[in-house]
């Protein structure tokens, strides 16, 4: 079966005063129907830029897609006009953002914000939209939905606002939900509630989810497949159990090793030396080589391709299979 979303060699460039920054550099991945796909990496690795490229939502930033294709349900989104994209956004692909405090319009009642998308995209009446909004609020677990419909956003807590945002995203039954760090601003018990909610809704609506996060724990708990990003490129992609059981890229390995909590307390953590590169001036060859413990001379000059190790597990490393020294 053809995947729902297929991103091929995507390149997105942000213009800046000094020189253009290639935030997304030949990124390829697929999302199948009904699957939760995780995109994980540290800040500035291009994971948010990738999902914003899919919806072409750059919030005023001077960004352009300069290469690649984004095939969604049989169409190439990069070829669509802005008007056609508007119909795709919200209706077929919806997005939930990181900050639930600023993602709702403070001057509109919550119910109206949910109904807005329904009225625009589904051309249904006000009354029907209202009933639908109540149903959606119940679905996302907002208690006493009928009364809460007429509340203002400031009357909701962070967790409840994120539920409302998910209700807005679900309003038009999208085929794909892009969740960009949806729980980063939330406390751990609320994060747990929201992640479980997303998983339940995925079952119920049969939609696919692209989950962007920096938290490997969140990936392990929610995603079916995952891709690790570093400095604008995907360095490893695998089924989640396989990635955690046998990480192959030195960056993924190092990231897992730097997590506290797993090891005995008396042992120091194993941080990754150095800092991620400046994308305006990335290192040649493999972008991880300056911080890599097993880099060899060839890593400085040759950019490794993302190649399969065992069927679905692919890694972009010249030294794949080499034991870390």
């Amino acid at each position: 079966m053809a995947p729902l979303l297929s991103v091929r060699d995507l390149v997105t460039v942000f213009e800046s005063k000094t020189r253009p920054v290639q935030a997304v550099d030949s990124v390829s991945f697929e999302i199948r129907e009904g699957e939760v796909f995780g995109l994980v990496g540290e800040s500035g690795c291009g994971k948010s830029a990738t999902c914003r490229s899919i919806l072409r939502l750059f919030a005023g930033a001077p960004a352009r897609i300069t290469g690649g294709t984004i095939e969604f349900a049989g169409r190439d989104l990069t070829c669509l006009s802005e008007a056609e994209m508007t119909r795709v956004r919200g209706r077929e692909i919806a997005m939930v953002f990181q900050d639930p405090m600023t993602s709702l319009n403070p001057t509109m009642r919550v119910g109206d914000q949910i109904a807005e998308g329904l009225i625009r995209h589904e051309s249904i009446g006000r009354r029907a939209a209202r009933l639908e909004a109540i149903e959606l609020l119940k679905q996302v677990g907002v208690p006493s939905a009928e009364q809460r419909l007429d509340s203002w956003p400031h009357e909701f807590s962070g967790g409840m606002r994120q539920r409302v945002l998910i209700a807005i995203a679900l309003a038009c039954r999208p085929k794909l939900l892009i969740a960009d760090e949806p729980t980063t601003a939330l406390d751990v018990t609320i994060q747990d509630q929201i992640l479980k909610l997303i998983l339940r809704l995925r079952e119920q609506y049969g939609m696919s989810v692209l989950l962007v996060t920096h938290d490997l724990g969140v990936v392990a708990q929610t995603c079916d497949r995952v891709a690790t990003m570093y400095a604008g490129r995907i360095v490893e992609t695998a089924e989640t159990p396989s990635l955690f059981a046998r990480p192959l890229h030195p960056y993924t390995i190092a990231l897992l090793n730097s997590l506290p909590g797993g090891k005995k307390r008396s042992e120091p953590l194993q941080p990754i030396g150095g800092a991620p590169p400046n994308l305006a001036d990335p290192p040649p060859g493999c972008r991880f080589h300056p911080r890599c413990s097993i880099a060899v001379e060839a890593c400085r000059s040759t950019a490794p391709a993302l190649l399969p190790v065992d069927a679905p597990h692919r890694v972009a490393c010249l030294r794949r299979g080499a034991e870390p020294s």
């Binding site: 120091p268 941080p271 030396g273 150095g274 800092a275 400046n278 300056p290």
Partner: protein, 285 residues
């Protein structure tokens, strides 16, 4: 040892960067330098006396002898514009610097200490704010009598409240910064914290406003002089010159027009300076 693992510095380890001039700042500075050179050096080279009346030369149009023409009393307009420039810049400087100092101090104290101090100081500001600017200035100068000194006094008493409000607002937000909390915890005195940690990060908007205020002050001085409460004739002053020329505007346009251009030029220069300083002084990162 683990602590030797360090990130590579994101900037090249060169010496402290020199303040980089931006286009508006460069343009504003250049215009100001030209203006200062003109008002300071111009009168030295001018063959005319800005005050000497010569009815034989009255109302000459601009030409090779009198570049900007002469007024109804036969005084050279160019020489008077330059002489007036010095007067106006002096007045504007004093009328901006004094309120800037007083207002910034009050604003910093009110914003930093908060509580009762803040409430008392800001109520005073609110009361003064309730009066229209000109009403207050005219009342003060009118009561004390027209003179340059009283004009300085009037402007200072009225304008400081703007600076106090601007600086207080900025200080309120800078005070929340973790570096100010850290400074308190490091046992620094309040004076040191205000001068070294709070004000340098809070003063930029006040400086930018001061640049705009120079222009407003020149216009206000003009208005006061027009009412006879400001600069007294025959001292040349741009506003007085424009007012004097209004009776001849159709026959001798140059009397009012050239001081008008001078005001516009000065306004543009200081606006550019304000813009450029805003860019230059805003902390990076």
């Amino acid at each position: 040892m683990t602590t030797t693992i360090t990130e590579t510095p994101t900037a090249s380890p060169r010496q402290r960067r020199l303040p980089r001039l931006n286009p508006p700042l460069t343009a504003g500075l250049a215009m100001l330098v030209i203006l200062l050179a003109a008002v300071l050096l111009g009168p030295l080279f001018s063959p005319y006396d800005p005050l000497k009346v010569d009815f034989a030369e009255a109302l000459r149009p601009p030409g090779a002898v009198h570049w900007f023409g002469t007024d109804n009393l036969g005084r050279d307009v160019l020489t008077r514009v330059l002489a007036a420039g010095l007067v106006d810049l002096q007045i504007a400087t004093v009328c901006v610097v004094l309120p800037f100092l007083i207002g910034s101090t009050v604003g910093a104290v009110a914003g930093y200490f908060g509580g009762l101090t803040d409430r008392i100081l800001m109520r005073i500001v609110d009361i003064l704010w309730a009066f229209p600017f000109y009403v207050l200035v005219i009342a003060i100068v009118g009561t004390l009598g027209p003179s340059t000194g009283n004009m300085y006094l009037a402007f200072t008493l009225v304008v400081w409240i703007s600076f106090a409000r601007i600086v207080r607002g900025e200080v309120l937000s800078v005070r929340q910064s973790e570096y100010v909390m850290a400074a308190r915890l490091l046992g620094y005195s309040h004076l040191r914290i205000i001068l070294r940690h709070v004000l340098p990060n809070a003063i930029t908007p006040a400086i930018v406003y001061a640049m705009a205020d120079v222009v407003l002050t020149i216009l206000a001085v003009t208005a006061l002089s027009f009412l006879g409460l400001g600069v007294q004739p025959p001292t040349p002053e741009w506003g007085v010159m424009i007012a004097d020329g209004r009776n001849f505007i159709f026959d001798a346009w140059w009397i009012s027009t050239f001081p008008g251009f001078a005001i516009i030029y000065t306004g543009i220069a200081f606006t550019l300076l304000g813009d450029g300083l805003d860019d230059l002084l805003r902390p990076k990162g």
